[in-house]
């Protein structure tokens, strides 16, 4: 709609500017002399006629009737009509301005002429003799020519006075209005398909992949129709790719899980018939199967997050409540070692995104912290609202009281399958947990960073933009900030 208004206003302005220029050019090309000549040709004969009529009226009906007659056509503003008798006396005793008197004198001196014209002052003096032979001089003083008397504007201003009248104002408004209406329709014609294209693009971004541009736009036969067709081609391609990707993920998931499911059941059967000494090997097989299982799950999650496919359940949720829930669950795991999970800070932090993915990502971090914190200590989780460069955000800090991590490998913890840290506590890790966490937060427009905390322990800071009413945040699958950008982004709490 903004484009529509913009195009409309520009067109309208354009039409008005062109009209103005046309008038200006007419003004320039018509020389004053030419104009004066035209004026003289037009009004010279008329004044001759008026003069005769006026002397006739004065003789037959008297000065009162004449005054009425003169007054009627003096109604045109700016036009003044004088009448001098043989003594040079103005019939109505009016004071005539100097240029008028000069013209009258000039006429008196040139005995051969019946009319004297002053084109510069726009004065015409006419000698007239009534039926009784009494000589008079009738003078009509026209106003100075103005731009409004020019040919283009003759359309607009019917009177020769050149001043805008009510009628001319209506005509002007009509021209501006018609131009406006035309421009409005034209702007709509151009902007409407663009609006459609835009809303279709938005829908595609929101994973409504079946969206296409409809016939109305495609039948226009101009570049916008071509754009619409190109858009549809692109949408076809995206739909195919996304569907294929989705199918591939489902197939891979199915293909990898089926043998594992069979393996699990076979293992269960083997346990039934196991002899002493084999049990521990079966336990080992079960453990490794479970690891493989977790790994496949994480790989598929990673693929889903990276491709942005399967992030359909996008909504608004309270991350504070979610963190609280994860903490409650994690505490069950922490309790046997005398550990606790404490949550403090801001409540009611609404964010937009996939609650399931964020829950998994937060869970990774919190369970990691529970695994690494020393016996009898607590994992502290704090939530804090903050105004970041890109707007309001919430920062979740998860801090454990464990041994921490050597500084030089802190940033590499987020690299998938990084094998730098082989401790007893970490044997169960797949090397993907933190990588997934970072990707999930990045997809949500946030960040995940880690550092060793002052006073021991390790802290992971997770930042997410807060939900803003009316703002539409979409999964940002395309952005992939490098690890370096996050280097030491947080100072330890």
């Amino acid at each position: 709609m903004r484009l529509h208004i913009k195009v409309f206003l520009w067109f309208w302005l354009g039409v008005l500017v062109v009209s103005g220029t046309l008038i200006g050019l007419t003004e320039l090309t018509h020389s004053r002399a030419q104009d004066d000549r035209l004026w003289q040709e037009k009004y010279g004969p008329r004044v001759d006629l008026w003069a005769r009529q006026e002397t006739h009226i004065l003789r037959t009906k008297g000065s009162v009737a004449l005054e009425e007659y003169v007054g009627s056509f003096q109604a045109d503003p700016g036009v003044l009509n004088y009448m001098f008798d043989a003594n040079g006396h103005e019939v109505f005793d009016r004071e005539a301005p100097q240029p008028v008197l000069a013209t009258v004198n000039a006429l008196a001196q040139s005995s051969g002429w019946t009319q004297r014209v002053d084109p510069v002052e726009r004065i015409i003096a006419e000698r007239a003799i009534d039926a009784n032979g009494t000589p008079y001089v009738v003078v009509v003083d026209f106003p100075e020519p103005s731009v409004l008397t020019r040919p283009v504007f003759e359309l607009l201003s019917a009177d020769f006075s050149g001043r805008p009248t009510r009628a001319s104002a209506v005509r002007l408004a009509a021209v501006v209005g018609v131009a406006g209406l035309f421009c409005f329709v034209l702007a709509r014609h151009i902007a409407a398909p663009i609006d459609r294209l835009r809303s279709a693009t938005k829908k595609i971004a929101r994973e409504q992949l079946e969206t296409r541009i409809d016939r109305d736009v495609l039948n226009r036969g101009d570049e916008l129709a071509d754009l619409g067709r190109d858009f549809n081609g692109m949408a076809d391609r995206i739909e195919t790719l996304v569907t294929a990707q989705r199918q591939l993920l489902a197939d891979v998931s199915h293909a990898l899980r089926s043998p594992l499911a069979r393996l699990n059941v076979a293992l269960g059967l083997a346990r039934r018939h196991s002899v002493p000494g084999v049990v521990e090997h079966l336990d080992r097989i079960e453990l490794e199967t479970e690891r493989l299982n977790t790994l496949i799950g994480q790989l598929l999650t990673m693929a889903r997050v990276d491709s942005g496919v399967g992030l359909e359940r996008w909504g608004v949720f309270d991350i504070a409540a979610l963190v609280e829930e994860v903490a409650t669950d994690a505490e069950y795991e922490a309790r046997p070692r005398g550990c606790a999970v404490a949550v403090a800070g801001d409540r009611n932090c609404l964010v937009s995104g996939s609650a399931d993915l964020v829950r998994g990502a937060v869970e990774n971090v919190v369970r990691n912290a529970v695994r690494h914190t020393a016996d009898g200590t607590s994992v502290e989780i704090s939530l804090e609202r903050r105004v970041a460069a890109s707007g309001p955000a919430v920062v979740i800090c998860v801090r454990d009281r464990g041994p921490g991590v050597p500084d030089k490998i802190v940033q590499r913890l987020f690299v998938p399958f990084y094998r730098g840290l082989q401790t007893d506590n970490n044997q169960n890790g797949t090397g993907l947990g933190l990588a997934i966490t970072r990707r999930v937060f990045e997809v949500h427009g946030g960040t995940a960073t880690a550092a060793n905390a002052d006073g021991g322990g390790f802290v992971v800071a997770l930042e997410l933009p807060l939900y803003v009413e009316g703002g539409t945040r979409q999964p940002q699958a395309a952005t992939r900030p490098t690890t370096e950008e996050h280097g030491n982004a947080i100072t330890a709490a």
């Binding site: 199915h254 069979r262 059941v265 293992l267 269960g268 409540a321 829930e325």
Partner: protein, 252 residues
Amino acid sequence: MTGYPSDTSEMPATRHLLVVDDDTELCQLLSEYLLPEGYDVESVHTGTEGVERALSGEHALVVLDVMLPDVRGFEVLRQLRARTRMPVLMLTARGNEQDRILGLEMGADDYLAKPFNPRELCARIEAILRRSGVERGALDVRVPGDLIVDDVSINKASRIVRRRGETIELTTVEFDLLEALLRNAGSAIARDELVRTVLNRPFSPFDRSIDTHVSNLRRKLGPGPDGLDRIKSLRGVGYQYTLRQSSGALEK
């Protein structure tokens, strides 16, 4: 052959299970594993067959895989739920939260992520059968009648839920959950207790199925007479059905 075992208080010799999964080898292994546990497994490998066999009324429970070659497992579930309340255990892809939520929403009694530990499968089947056994036994053991809290009333015999006279469709689990919440209306029930009593299995952290059931129930019941949520989440504790006018559950 009759459908449900008529009396579940005594362990019947064998119970018939229907497994709907396209993995024939897995079905074989399962049938071998479950036989000594007292289950006689019939397996079918397509959704269409699954619906057909499940509706025969010969099985105590259906184990239904989400991924089937012909139709999605959810479609099978939908068709079953339109006709029968028989217990259904869904096998979903691990890590796919949406499948889990969708399955429970559509009335699956429970779900298990595939690949699963067969011991866990046995335990879940056991829990569901015990629960549905109690449900049928309730006719004899408990006084059949209505439980009324404010504008909601449930009938345990007919398993009909009404809100201001209007019937609300609930799944088996949702009904049991609502009953537990109404019975304790006005006081909190811990999440782990709900898992034990309603889902009939030990609580395990990070398992959010009870929360999914609660949110489905909340959605189906709608807001209370005062426009607020009927079921309140108590952080770190559990859930509570909020009383509005009445002082507690009224039993008739």
